[in-house]
Amino acid sequence: MSGIGLPSDRSGPVRSGSVQLPTFLRSGALRKLLRDPVATLGLAIVMFALIVAVFAPWLAPHPEDAYESHLLQRLQAPSAEFPFGTDNLGRDILSRVILGTRSALVVAVSVVGAAMLIGVPMGLVAGWKDSWLSELLMRVTDVFLAVPQLILALALGQLMAPGLTTAMVALALTYWPFFARTVFAETRRLRTSLFVDALASIGASPARILLLHVLPNAAPAILVRATIGMGFTILTAATLGFLGVGAAPPSPDWGLAISEARQHLPEAWWFPTFPGLAILLLVLGFNLLGDGLRDAADPRLRRSRR
């Protein structure tokens, strides 16, 4: 690779090791991710949940149990016919867990998506310059941060019709400040960095710098926040369902199932256990995936094999 007699530098990278060229969505990132066993596990869980959610009606052995009841079979322990047992209305719990995956994912994605849409631009604008506007935006953020999610959901439930949509609105409204704060901190950190300075020096406008440079650099932090948010949202939505201000019966929502199961404990142990395990698994999956994605997507991180 080296050329004798040339004043030029035609060598490859001097470092031994990483030759991956990952961009956020390229297969390079995927390959890197797959080398991390913990992150791969997270990815597997999430993919599994995704497939289950998409094919739920076909995967569930008793899809009609989303809304039908079979009182003759109520509260049966797990068996060959009903691997997760049946609930208080005789519905197959396995099927309901499968069907509930859809709702869990939809809620998580919508809430986190909405929170990002509000919070990220706010953080960018507030973080760029120290002005009265950024002060104002950050104080508004603080106000929303101070509101407890559950209380807001309950309050909104009074104003609007209680139900899953209301719960989602409440969750989004209380989660966006986390994005705003994260992005604010990242923007402030990045605006003094050398490459932003260099961009200004070659004539880049603030808009260009913010959208094309600050945002991608803040992406790892946003991503971590988003995956934590997914897990958190699923948990909180379940809690809201549990409290009766989220999903309404006969929805196969996991939180609702746990709520309904309360009265039948401790005999019908299977009733809350399987929906609870589903929540646990999915939240875990998102968290592991989020950590792994952040590490894999950052072009600078590399690991040497031990």
Binding site: S2, G5, D9, S304
Partner: protein, 330 residues
């Protein structure tokens, strides 16, 4: 340099045929290969080389802090007649002082400077805390820190860069080491501050009879401070000997070409063609041969051994580098 006719004592530190390798994503990195050098008592040895030459790994081997996963297929590091590689440098703890490179990053900003050094002393030096404190104040005086008593209570950020480097030197001397290892301690400093630190090091090594292993990439600093020099290239020793002799008449083609790049010597601005090989893809035979104007087929076949020359010098090249001026240098 001393001309004592007394029976030669064993050198304080002797690195013998040291090889260090580590597995990386890109393959097996042969970072050091068959490196031999010695620091006689009371002398200053400079280790000079460009990036990729392995000097950091060499330092880590001597200090016993090789990264996890590093393998030492052969070789020994003998400090005061004990192979310290065998026991992970435990026997050398407290007897080899270390001056790190960056005075701004090497001190923990949330603890007082004095406390950080006292902690080192507590672990490796006998005596009570009061003894240590008194000794530390003496050390601060020796390294010419202003107001030594007050300095004990200060935080690192309250010192300037040059003062911080003095703190680090004091830390290195805290346990009365026989050998001090310094990793380019003046690169982050201004030129005038650097001059003071170098003068301080000269004074301290003379006063205390210290041996000093000084890693640097700056030939000017090397000339100012070091009695002996070892030139490393791609993990191997290219040349070694008394500093002045090596700088005046380098024998290895690499040393010769490198010195020709220095702005103080360069006839014209030239580089050395090619680049340092990656540690995972070292050339066969002599590691410099792909870039060497004197290369012959024999250079590809086997690594050249270090040939001893007059005046305590050694060079790992069988050919006479003085033929180089005839060669095209660009």
């Amino acid at each position: 340099m001393h001309a004592t006719p007394a029976p030669a004592r064993a050198p304080l530190l002797s690195v013998e045929n040291l090889s260090v390798q580590i597995r990386t994503d890109g393959g097996l990195a042969r970072i050091l290969d068959d490196v031999t050098l010695a620091v006689p008592r009371g002398t200053t040895l400079g280790v000079v080389g460009e990036s990729g030459c392995g000097k950091s790994t060499l330092l880590r081997a001597i200090l016993g802090i090789l990264p996890r996963g590093a393998m030492v297929p052969k070789g020994a590091v003998i400090f005061d007649n004990t192979d310290i590689l065998e026991d992970g440098a435990k026997s050398a703890r407290g007897r080899i002082g270390f001056v790190p490179q960056d005075p701004y990053l090497s001190l923990n900003p949330v603890f007082r400077a004095g406390d950080q050094i006292l902690e080192i002393m507590r672990r490796h030096a006998p005596g009570t805390r009061r003894d240590h404190k008194a000794k530390l104040i003496e050390l601060f005086r020796a390294v010419q820190l202003p107001e030594p008593e007050a300095a004990l209570a200060k935080y690192p950020h309250q010192f300037s860069g040059g003062q911080r480097q003095r703190l680090l030197i004091a830390a290195a001397l805290a346990c009365d080491p026989a050998l001090v290892v310094a990793d380019e301690p003046t690169t982050a400093l201004d030129v005038t501050t650097q001059q003071e630190i170098l003068a301080l090091l000269r004074q301290l090594t003379a006063e205390r009879g210290l041996s000093l292993l000084f890693v640097t990439h700056d030939f000017g600093v090397l000339a100012a401070l070091c009695d002996q020099v070892v030139v490393l290239y791609a993990g191997r020793v290219a040349e070694a000997g008394p500093t002045r002799a090596v700088l005046d008449a380098p024998r290895h083609p690499y040393t010769r070409l490198l010195l020709a790049c220095h702005p103080d010597r360069a006839e014209d601005l030239v580089g050395i063609p090619g680049t340092v090989p990656a540690a995972t893809a070292q050339p066969e035979g002599c590691r410099f041969h792909p870039r060497c104007p004197l290369a012959r087929p024999a250079c590809h076949a086997a690594p050249p051994p270090v040939l001893p020359l007059a005046g305590g010098r050694g060079v790992a090249c069988p050919y006479n580098a003085e033929e180089l001026p005839e060669m095209v240098l660009a």
